[in-house]
Symmetry: C7
Subunit: 85 residues, 7 copies
């Protein structure tokens, strides 16, 4: 099973994209993460996250990791579950 | 036989896209589901669903599952049946 | 020999796209059918049909099946015959 | 040797695209034909023909076949000869 | 070695695209020719020629062949030499 | 593990793109670098860097190398970590 | 190691694109050259050069060859070094 998410996230300037990517990469089931900067404001940065993983990937774990880094999950723009061999 | 649907669905904010995807994934014959958010209004969210499956995939089962989650199937935008080996 | 058609069809709301696809799939020589909704009016829906098949696919059979379901074949937008191995 | 033509053709409503495709398919060297409707006027239809074939494909034969069906070859928009193995 | 040219050519209505393609195909080293009509004026037609060939392909030979058919080589829009195996 | 960065960098005219690419190529873990010029001003040039590498690639090393060449890392536009086999 | 450059070059009408391509092809390490005409002025032509090669490809050699033909290297728009196997 392959799972993919596109997430719209509002984050403080720290942690930066690289630190954020590394923390997400440590979550169970994650095999791929891409973070693209959308807009940089004075105190926050909005970013687009694409996260791919296997059947162990769990959105609650992602939400918790984001909150631990003071990031707000603004919206889940795309969810995809693919069970084709 | 491979079957694909593009569905236009109006749903309450709960269940969220991830819960909706998981329920659809449990329907007989479903092998792939993608949910993309189209518009978020005050009480509802309109989403685009792409569902792929084998010959056991049955639109009535999808409709029933959507209704059980208080979602309205607004329109069936695309139906595809592919029997090529 | 592989044959493909793009058809522009005007249909009543019933049968819906799924029923229409299933009936076309039963026609001799048909191996693939895709139905996309173009416009929904008060009494009718205009749809785009893509039908693919082998050398046994016969447009007369498709026309007859459409008429049996009260659908009007508005135009044959594309015809393709491919005999390359 | 593979030969391809894109032709701009003005035809009466009869023969229709399917009959036209079948006649062209019978011409020596033709292995592929695609006919797309461009514009439908009161008495005529302008169509785009793509014809592919091997080294036996001969434009004179195509012109003759079109004239036999009261079609006018308006222009030869693309000619391609490919001799790469 | 693979060589490719995109040429902008002004030609009289005769020879037509097909005759022009056949003559170019006879030039030493040519393995592919495509001729697309750009604009048709009262006495001339401007066409885009794409010619591909091996290391024996020689632009002087192409120019001479074009002049022999009363065609003017307006510009050489692209030259490509590829020596990668 | 494959890592990719898109970086927005402000650099003096010297070092030029080629020198910059060569220095970055020497950083541990780097396997690919692309530098595209975005805007050339009187004293500075803004460039887009795409850097790809393996798990040994470290953004701090890249930042240090850029600073050593008097380049300012304006923003990290994209970070991608791919652990799929 | 594969190296690629996109160069913006201002050249006199002579040498023409074909002569220029042949001279660049003789430079050590060059395996591919593409020259596209951008703008033709009264005395000069601006062209886009894409040059690909192996690790022996050296920008200084390209600059020298261009100057020998009275061409001015206006800018290096893209530099790419790829060391992935």
């Amino acid at each position: 099973m392959r799972i993919e998410y596109d997430l719209d996230v509002l984050k403080p300037h720290q942690p930066d994209n690289w630190e954020l990517a590394q923390v997400i990469m440590e979550i169970e089931g994650v095999t791929f993460v891409q973070i693209k900067t959308d807009e940089i404001d004075q105190k926050t940065t909005s970013v687009f996250l694409t996260i791919k993983g296997n059947g162990d990937l769990n959105l609650t774990n992602i939400k918790n990791a984001l909150e631990d880094m003071n990031c707000a999950l603004h919206s889940v723009d795309r969810v995809q579950i693919d069970n084709r061999s």
